[in-house]
Symmetry: C2
Subunit: 263 residues, 2 copies
């Protein structure tokens, strides 16, 4: 196998049916090996509310109590995963929707309680990735579609952050096959000037990143994403691109769209 | 591959955590190729009710309107499928939970409206089964766990009767590999006397079935199950066994438990 490309989506591409279908139509046409990782969007909050359960978030991360875990499992691995998979299949890109649970794709542990008790939230490591399952599916012509629920060794289901799943799968796969990691978000890339959508920084590496970082141009929200990207590169991933979901075809070109992060 | 055994569970084995875990512990130890098909049990009704949606059934079959479809997709392919899969994994039987949607395992069509409008209910045929996906998973050492939601060619999700899924998967697989089909239910088998739980008929075939049927010993609920079993045998399935989930190990023995249906 030449390479595998992990594409992570979230936000509007999950929540808005038109945006989602437009994105999936783009993705379906790309003649490359793809693994799609999807977040949960706002659907889980709507279902929680309709069941009289209040969604709880701290620092942008969900507090997953037992009732919430049931709902996010239903929404992520059920409704969203099967909606996306069925759509890709209808676009003639044959896809198999699974989660971290399946084939122990992700061997998770419950996050230890420190300052904040995140409840049934899980942590994962690249060593706990069953990369062979993804390689087998891709080799057989399927596009794996991954929902971000996993389980621990005692069958306790756990909710995992979607960016973390994408990065950890990439690092796990990179030990066996050349792997690229593409994060889709609302902006065209990492911006030099937060007020100018066209000020995309095409390349960040260990040379220019510390200098730009010292100039304070990266927002508080962007810094953990970039640290995560460099961390993934250090674990053997070939390249990371952060860019807009409407530009997804462009991530696969030599003259790439978005911001590329590499060594 | 020597053979594949499809095991269908429903009812108490889905609804009752202790009964489910006991069954899965039995299943996990059986050193045979297994595909597990699970129904939805009563969990979907509980979730529907908690969301203020009234469950609707006619003749024991669900009327699946748009809201109900969302919920059964969440419950069957999400909560139940991942709970079972995680449990089997924790018992060292590495399992992959999928649905009819995934890899177009089941190519479904919406049921035409005749007397009753079942809503988003689907029909399937053995020709519409992607048997190779199951064969690949089983060959790689995984136990596929199947939730009974599928999609049509336009990505419309559809709810499929679990007995129908098990039978159709078996007929589809039988075209490629020797296939047995085991239905788990509450009784020890098909009974000669409905009031005597130990009056199990060990064997039904084309010779004794018409005679026993003419004597009127089969209940209204059992007749469609038996017609379905004979239909499956006529489509190439090696044998069908109907028996109690507590006897599941016994289905795999030469001196089988339950009622065996064959030619």
């Amino acid at each position: 196998m030449e390479e595998i490309n992990i594409v992570k989506i979230g936000g509007k591409v999950i929540d808005d049916e038109n945006a989602r279908n437009e994105f999936l139509a783009r993705l379906a046409k790309i003649k490359k090996n793809i693994v799609l990782v999807h977040g949960g969007g706002k659907v889980a909050n709507q279902v929680l509310t309709s069941m009289g359960i209040e969604p709880k978030m701290v620092n942008g991360r969900r507090i997953t109590d037992a009732d919430t875990l049931r709902v996010v499992t239903m929404v992520y691995t059920g409704l969203i995963n099967k909606t996306i998979t069925a759509k890709l299949n209808s676009l003639n890109r044959c896809s198999v929707g699974i989660s971290g649970v399946d084939g122990v794709l992700l061997d998770a542990v419950k996050r230890p309680v420190k300052d904040i008790d995140y409840g049934f939230a899980g942590d994962i490591t690249p060593e706990g990735v069953n990369a062979q399952l993804l390689i087998d599916l891709v080799s057989n012509g399927y596009t794996p579609v991954i929902a971000t629920i996993a389980a621990d060794k005692n069958a306790q289901l756990l909710n995992i952050n979607a960016d973390t799943v994408a990065s950890t799968l990439a690092a796990g796969l990179a030990q066996k096959v050349k792997t690229n990691l593409f994060f889709c978000f609302e902006k065209k890339g990492v911006l030099m000037d937060a007020n100018d959508d066209n000020s995309v920084i095409p390349l960040l590496n260990s040379e220019n990143y510390p200098k730009l970082s010292a100039q304070g141009i990266f927002s508080d929200g962007m810094i953990p994403k970039l640290e995560n990207a460099f961390n993934t590169i250090n674990k053997g991933v070939n390249k990371v691109i952060i860019g807009n979901s409407n530009d997804v075809e462009g991530f696969f070109e030599a003259e790439h769209k978005g911001t590329m992060i590499c060594k």
